[in-house]
């Protein structure tokens, strides 16, 4: 299985950044043109074992959970947000780089990564992965594989 890694810009957790949003044009992933992809949105659910990943990734997370389920993530603006959106960086596409998300230490988290359209209003792919424990300071890396959602899903995934 070939995987396309999306670089998520470190320190760009305050929201979409137009200059970092461009991906290599012309590349197709399962019928999805890569230049349709604009952002990656990260959200973390508390009480993660209450949720079932295969269901969550079928459509927009914001339609399936309550705001109170979301762990507040610290953006590069120093403020806490229910989700962070990062622009993908075409220059490092495929190199498997990693972003770092700042969250309160805790246990039983579930991290959801949603791949958003160029304008950020459509869900293109979604993946989630349990995070059993987030300790203060640096933690081990977490890999999330996002699967494409059916084109019939037309919800606006933005969590603000």
């Amino acid at each position: 299985m070939r995987r396309l890694s999306l670089l998520l810009l470190l320190g760009c957790a305050c929201g979409p950044s137009p200059e970092g949003a461009g991906l290599e044009a012309g590349l197709i992933i399962q019928g999805l043109s890569i230049d349709e992809i604009g952002y990656v949105q990260i959200a973390v659910l508390s009480g993660g074992s209450r949720f079932y990943c295969p269901d969550l990734v079928k459509s927009c997370l914001n339609q399936q959970v309550k705001t109170s389920d979301l762990v507040q993530l610290r953006g590069s603006d120093g403020q806490d947000h229910p989700a962070l959106r990062f622009a993908a960086d075409a220059g490092t596409l495929g190199s498997g780089q990693t972003l770092t998300v700042s969250m309160p230490p805790g246990t039983d988290y579930l991290v959801v990564a949603e791949i958003l359209s160029k304008d950020g209003t459509l869900l293109k792919a979604s993946g989630c992965e349990p995070l059993p424990q987030a300790s203060a300071g640096k933690n081990q890396g977490l890999a999330i594989h996002a699967a494409l959602v059916p084109s019939a899903v037309s919800c606006n995934p933005q969590i603000n």
Binding site: I37, G96, T98, V101, P104, A113, I115, S135, I144, A147
Partner: protein, 250 residues
């Protein structure tokens, strides 16, 4: 009984207090919930009566209401039994050591919990590393969300840099496990420092974040106890940095 004499508001308060008793047993709690539901119903608080009945059913799914129970209450109860509402899972928001861990001083453990049903009790367990059996203690609270417990000084490893193993478990009055942090098989670990004035403990790499809380309290120049009110927000302010790599599958 206060409920029978019509002093329903006083009854509700008395029952609330009784339900917070850490020594309460399941059968007694079930009866208290029934009384509480009755009292709320008489006070016209049907939503609260329903909540009491839900707590009762979670505790005792096969519970039979007393004869003579009002038809309305019985109908609500049977309806809830037939189609229970989904239960919010109890969450351990945080759990860890507060104020340092040092030979000769008790260790204070604090926990923040959410969605804790009435009657459910958090309990901490501990042992010296290598010992077979865990000691235990219930946790006290003022608001049913923040809890504290102390491990007595004599329970700590005697030598310098001994390791204390501990964990948190939340159970309902029927003894069913609702949530935990660590477990008997995989306890959290805390290295105990020598007496004050000696060098501080060096925590093992990979120790859970909560074992390091005390470091923050001391780094802030805060003594346990007197500085507690100030130290708590410091503890709360810690952040976890999690590297996340996202891939799109093909």
């Amino acid at each position: 009984m206060l409920v029978e004499s019509g002093e329903f508001e006083r009854a509700v308060l008395a029952i609330e207090r009784a339900l917070m008793d850490p020594n309460l047993t399941g059968p007694v709690a079930s009866q208290l919930y029934e009384l509480q539901a009755n009292a709320w119903l008489y006070l016209g608080k049907e939503d609260k009566a329903r909540l009491s009945l839900e707590q009762l059913l979670r505790l005792s799914p096969d519970y039979q209401l007393a004869k003579g129970t009002s038809p309305k209450l019985r109908s609500t109860f049977e309806g809830l039994r037939a189609a229970p509402r989904p239960v919010e899972k109890v969450g351990v928001e945080s759990f860890g050591v507060f104020g340092g861990a040092e030979v000769g001083r008790p260790v204070e453990l604090r926990a923040e919990l959410k969605n804790l049903p009435q009657g459910a009790q958090p309990k901490v367990y501990w042992r010296k590393r290598g010992a077979g059996k865990y000691g235990s203690s219930g946790m006290t609270t003022e608001d049913r969300s923040r809890f504290a417990a102390q491990i007595p000084a004599f329970e700590l490893p005697a030598g310098e840099n001994g390791v204390l193993e501990y964990y948190l478990e939340v159970a309902d009055l029927a003894g069913r496990r609702l949530a935990s942090s660590g477990s008997a098989e995989r306890p959290l670990a805390l290295e105990i420092a020598g007496p004050a004035g000696t060098s501080g403990p060096a925590l093992e790499d990979g120790d859970p974040w909560y074992t390091k809380w005390w470091v923050w309290a001391i780094a802030g120049g805060l003594a346990a106890g007197a500085g507690a009110a100030v130290a708590y927000p410091l503890i709360k302010g810690q952040r976890a940095e999690v590297p996340i790599t996202v891939t799109v599958q093909q």
